[in-house]
């Protein structure tokens, strides 16, 4: 727990120092949302229909940049290796970074909501439920994303490899998050929201458990 808290504090501090990059990643995601709206055209019903899917696609694309960036600082001077040699627990380092990445992605998700409302005219009054779905969905992205970002961080061509490895793995999370968000925007007459959020939570638990088990093998020689 000591190592987890130390790692979380360190990663949040690094993110704060790199906040210009956080803003740039938000700009990239917002631009993606704008381009998606161009693809649909001025049909407001269709825009609203696809809003949830576009929100999560924008978040997924932005997340690959954010996740890769989170390991950039670790690799510049092999700082992560320095911590492992102290020795710091690999599991503590993983959960600290995954939690910091989760906070970053959740913040991005929340920041994309007003963009979605403006571009797609797709809002909801169930803001707490939407926040809950964003938290669960981004948890499902950050846990495997942190693991794969660590795996690809030392490889040439990591910018391509990270999405290639990550996207297939997070398809179930993405589907559940899109469905749950869509139910919030378009209405939920059959009361399906709970089952989709439960599914999201289940994926999250599995990803977080596996990530913690595998991270040591990924970062140690």
């Amino acid at each position: 727990m000591k190592d987890l808290l130390a790692a979380l504090r360190k990663d949040l501090l690094l993110q704060w120092r790199g906040r210009a990059q956080v803003i740039a990643i938000f700009g990239f995601g917002a631009a993606a949302l704008l381009l998606f709206s161009f693809a649909i055209g001025p049909d407001s019903a269709a825009l609203r229909q696809h809003a949830a899917g576009f929100l999560w696609l924008g978040l997924l694309l932005a997340s690959t940049l954010a996740l890769a960036e989170s390991f950039e600082r670790e690799m510049e001077e092999q700082a992560l290796e320095g911590l492992l040699l102290l020795p710091a627990s690999a599991r503590g380092l993983y959960y600290g970074k995954a939690l910091a990445n989760w906070a970053h992605l959740a913040l991005l998700g929340v920041a994309f909501v007003p963009v979605m409302v403006v571009l797609y005219d797709a809002g909801t009054l169930r803001l707490l439920s939407l926040l809950w779905v964003i938290l669960l969905g981004t948890a499902g992205l950050s846990a495997p994303g942190t693991l794969y970002a660590a795996m690809t961080s030392q490889i040439r061509g990591r910018q391509t490899l990270l999405p290639l490895l990550l996207f297939p793995l997070v398809v179930p999370v993405l589907l559940a998050a899109v469905k749950a968000t869509s139910l919030l925007i378009l209405g939920d007459p059959m009361g399906q929201l709970r089952s989709w959020t439960t599914l999201l939570a289940a994926f999250g638990v599995i990803h977080w458990a596996i990530g913690g088990l595998l991270f040591g093998r990924v970062v140690e020689d």
Partner: protein
């Protein structure tokens, strides 16, 4: 009375792809010894230090640090080893003080400014404590990396080119640091090309040639061919 063995390497082999960087390297270093490690570029010095520090694994052979087998009891070995490598292990966007504080939290030490500032003053960076590392020169980074090594208070200290990037006062600082470590009872293995300087400071020497141990014995008796071709020339202050 014979001293306890601090580092014992037996038959270490390590390869990168198809090239063997270390072949059957065996030696022992008694506790409290100050040992120089030398050899030409690419002879395997850094690889050997990284194997001893558990940063990378040996493909064959065993390493024991203060009696702990680094394969079996890696964390216990790591608690006793500090490594200054070619890469500084620092976070570039963080300040000097924040870098030490990050490590202090993992070490369970006091991360407060009052506790860490003396460490920075010790390496001549007291007035740059709040500057980000990315604004530092290579020599200042090296000083900060040395401060983080000292912070560990390890019993076995592995230094890879500790004089690298330093100015003449920095050379003297490293000389003093080595004497200080020795007085504190630490075992030091230092890779360096500054042969004359190291021979005056160290009591034992190891020479690597193409990944094989070519010499192990008193530092003062390191064979002359190693000193040829101007090696050890221009060693600063």
């Amino acid at each position: 009375m014979s001293r306890m063995i601090a580092v014992a390497a037996a038959g270490i082999c390590r390869r990168y792809g198809r090239r063997w960087a270390l072949t059957d390297v065996s030696f022992e270093i008694p506790e409290g010894a100050l040992v120089m490690l030398t050899g030409r570029n690419g002879s395997g010095k850094s690889t050997l230090l990284r194997v001893l520090a558990t940063a990378i694994r040996a493909d064959r052979g065993t390493v024991r640090v203060l009696g702990h087998d680094v394969r079996v009891d890696r964390d216990q070995a790591r608690r006793n080893i500090a490594l200054l490598g070619h890469r500084t292990h620092l976070y570039e966007p963080l300040t000097a003080l924040e870098n030490l504080a990050v490590r202090a939290r993992f070490l369970g030490a006091d991360p407060s400014r009052a506790a860490l500032l003396p460490r920075l003053e010790e390496v001549g960076l007291g007035d740059r404590a709040d500057d980000p590392v990315q604004a530092f020169s290579a020599g200042m980074r090296q000083r900060l990396a040395l401060a983080s090594v000292l912070q560990q208070q390890a019993r076995v200290v592995l230094l890879d080119e500790p004089y690298g990037h330093l100015d003449p006062p920095g050379f003297l600082f490293v000389d003093d640091l080595l004497r200080l470590l020795r007085q504190g009872g630490a075992t030091v293995l230092m890779a360096t090309h500054l042969l004359n300087r190291a021979r005056n400071l160290c009591d034992r020497g190891l020479v690597l040639e193409a990944g094989r141990l070519a010499y192990a014995g008193p530092a003062a008796q390191i064979p002359e061919p190693v000193l040829a071709d101007g090696a050890g020339f221009a060693e600063g202050a």
